[in-house]
């Protein structure tokens, strides 16, 4: 009996001591964990800067050797001769790819911009509230389609369609990729354009309405001029999207080093196959081996292919960087006014 009582007493005092230490531990953990959590939060906040620099650093690191050993910028950017795998005469000129990217983007914008701006104006100004919700959801779903599925569509649907409609020998060309990439760029242009239109200050609109302007007059004479810079930003972001697109152009451009301009009518051959910068990297990286430097610091000629592809990556990074920063500065200006 006494033993049992003593045991109980021991257990009780142990429990109370345990609970007390637990409380102290929890309080210490509270203070410590708050500080550690806040430091973690700060670290994560800085991470974005680290990653952006990281991307530039690592892409540059892998491509740097190409730039160091006898890099001729004029030949790189202005020569259409891209023969990285030739046994005897390796040449690395990306002019054809630059033009490829340029033409596909051009066709894409010709397709996307009128329809997107029109749709943007419609959704922002001429739409009923419910219709607007539905339209925005549908546009969001359009944006969700993965690029490889778009490429698939270009390959399986647009391809035979173009052959049937134009009689061209193959349907994988600038037109095909241009239309597909255009469709892919539509959602972003519509969204930003709509934002820009709705950001026009109400005071402008109210003033015009008080003067008896119809909706269309309002849009044409007041809103569009006021939203000019925002619409420009929208188009810029669309261009950025088009330039950076990889899978769709990989599957739809026909992938041949070719400049689709020449002296014969119609001068701009949209039915020609081309290759873009992005597709070059995607298609050839699998075969380009990563070779280390020789003992004297130079690289064997086969290694240059891998490095050259990374340099194309740097070019792409730089171009899209500039486009996106410009567009973002404009968009920020709009959102501030909102």
């Amino acid at each position: 009996m006494l033993m049992l009582g003593a045991l109980c007493g021991h257990i009780c005092s142990f429990l109370t001591r345990f609970r007390r230490t637990l409380r102290i531990v929890r309080r210490i953990l509270g203070i410590v964990s708050e500080r550690t959590i806040v430091s973690l939060i700060f670290l994560c906040g800085v991470s974005a800067v680290i990653f952006v620099f990281g991307i530039f650093f690592f892409v540059f690191r892998e491509g740097a050797p190409f730039l160091r050993h006898g890099f001729d910028a004029k030949e790189f950017f202005l020569s259409p001769d891209w023969y990285p795998t030739s046994a005897t005469n390796k040449r690395y000129g990306i002019l054809a790819q630059l033009i490829g990217t340029g033409t596909v983007t051009l066709v894409a914008m010709l397709v996307a911009v009128p329809f997107s701006l029109g749709a943007g104006i419609f959704i922002a100004e001429f739409c009923g509230k419910k219709a607007r919700e539905v339209m925005k959801i549908l546009i969001e779903l359009l944006a969700a389609i993965p690029s490889v599925v778009w490429g698939f569509i270009g390959l399986m649907v647009m391809n035979p369609l173009i052959i049937k409609l134009t009689g061209a020998p193959i349907g994988l060309n600038v037109l095909n990729a241009g239309v597909i990439v255009g469709l892919m760029s539509v959602p972003i242009i519509v969204t930003i354009a709509e934002d820009a239109i709705r950001a026009v200050p109400d005071t402008y609109i109210e003033a015009a309405e008080a003067l008896g302007a119809t909706r269309w007059q309002l849009v044409r004479k007041v809103i569009l001029p006021a939203a000019k810079s925002g619409l420009l930003a929208a188009v810029l972001l669309g261009v950025g999207r088009a330039v950076g697109e990889t899978m769709a152009v990989l599957m739809c451009t026909g992938h041949s080093i070719n400049i689709p301009f020449d002296g014969k009518a119609p001068f701009f051959h949209v039915l020609d196959s081309v290759r873009t910068l992005t597709a070059t990297i995607a298609a050839e990286m699998g075969e380009a081996p990563r070779l280390g430097a020789n003992t004297d610091g130079t690289f064997p000629p086969e290694a240059l292919h891998y490095q050259a592809l990374f340099v194309i990556g740097i070019v792409l990074f730089a171009v899209t960087f500039v486009i996106n920063v410009t567009a973002d500065l404009i968009v920020k200006g709009i959102r501030k006014r909102k």
């Binding site: 806040v38 994560c44 269309w216 990556g313 960087f321 973002d328």
Partner: protein, 303 residues
């Protein structure tokens, strides 16, 4: 002599107004037509894809592995590979992204450093997917020595989805009024306590929406996983839930669609379409969930 004592005529439309209204109606129809034109592809293509995929869309297709050089069988190995990479990439991107968003909206002061961080987030968001692939190759496969594996690919995807998670977290947090925070600070709560008890619980919906949207994107992207671990074929058991080790190469649905439509001759058309439909269906379904979630949050506002 005009009938001016009848007030109805005072407000009758003049010829000029009628002309303008007619012009407006025409313009409205033109813009409306433009909007519909954009959406036609969405509807038409989805239907076309489903119709052509129908013969191959069976349960077997999903659980079976590719056989006969991809010409028959199913897509199980690719499906599992995608699920693995997406899950791993989220495990990294979500904590980092959400905490970065918390930092930017709750702790960061309005100085040059914050502006740089915001600029970095925007730039990270605009990097083309192929450049992400190159980064993954240079940083994870080569430099970190992870080789071509699920780990490398997931980390690459994580960095790709990070900026959007950061931005949507920021916006969700911003939607919580400052007055709540001030009330808590005056009651003696620290910033983190306020975030933990009031701000986060009331913004979790918006954060989740951003995350779900990025799940779709991670599942659909091909370029970032192309040289960081996705591979043409890997032998996997049918219906096996754990076929890949994190250090192994893997098959992924998006890459699989690419290879069977461009590099394997003789694949039955319905199988090609079925693969596309499964990928597209997955992505659109998750997107729809995110949209529904967003609408429900908007309707259930607590203030």
């Amino acid at each position: 002599m005009k009938n001016i004592d009848n007030t109805k005529n005072l407000f009758a439309a003049t010829e000029l107004i009628n002309k303008k209204l007619r012009a407006q109606r025409i313009v409205k129809w033109i813009f409306g037509a433009m909007s519909i034109t954009i959406l036609i592809p969405l509807v038409a293509l989805t239907t076309c894809l489903i119709i052509r995929a129908w013969p191959s869309l069976t349960w077997d297709f999903i659980t079976d592995v590719p056989k006969q050089g991809m010409r028959s069988g199913g897509i199980w190995s690719a499906l599992v590979g995608t699920m693995y990479t997406v899950t791993f990439s989220l495990l990294v991107a979500v904590p980092v992204g959400v905490m970065a968003g918390i930092y930017l909206n709750e702790y960061a002061r309005d100085n040059w450093f914050t502006r740089i961080v915001n600029l970095a987030v925007v730039n990270l968001a605009g990097v083309p997917s192929i450049v992400h692939a190159l980064f993954g190759l240079g940083a994870f496969v080569v430099f970190a020595g992870l080789g071509k594996s699920i780990l490398s690919a997931s980390l690459t995807l994580a960095i790709m989805t990070l900026p959007v998670i950061i931005v949507s977290t920021k916006e969700a947090l911003f939607a919580v009024p400052v007055t709540f925070r001030m009330a808590c600070w005056n009651l003696g709560a620290s910033r983190w306590q306020t975030i933990r008890t009031i701000v986060l619980p009331n913004s979790i919906g918006g954060i989740l929406t951003g995350i779900i949207l990025q799940v779709c994107r991670a599942a659909g992207e091909t370029a970032p996983i192309m040289f960081t671990g996705a591979v043409f074929f890997k032998a996997v058991q049918r219906g096996d839930l754990f076929p890949y080790k994190p250090t192994e190469q893997f098959m992924a649905l998006s890459y699989h669609l690419h290879t069977i439509s461009t590099q394997v001759p003789g694949v039955p058309e319905s199988m090609l379409y079925a693969t596309a439909v499964v990928l597209l269906g997955f992505v659109l379904a998750f997107n729809a969930i995110a949209i529904v979630l967003r609408t429900r949050i908007r309707n259930r506002k607590k203030w």
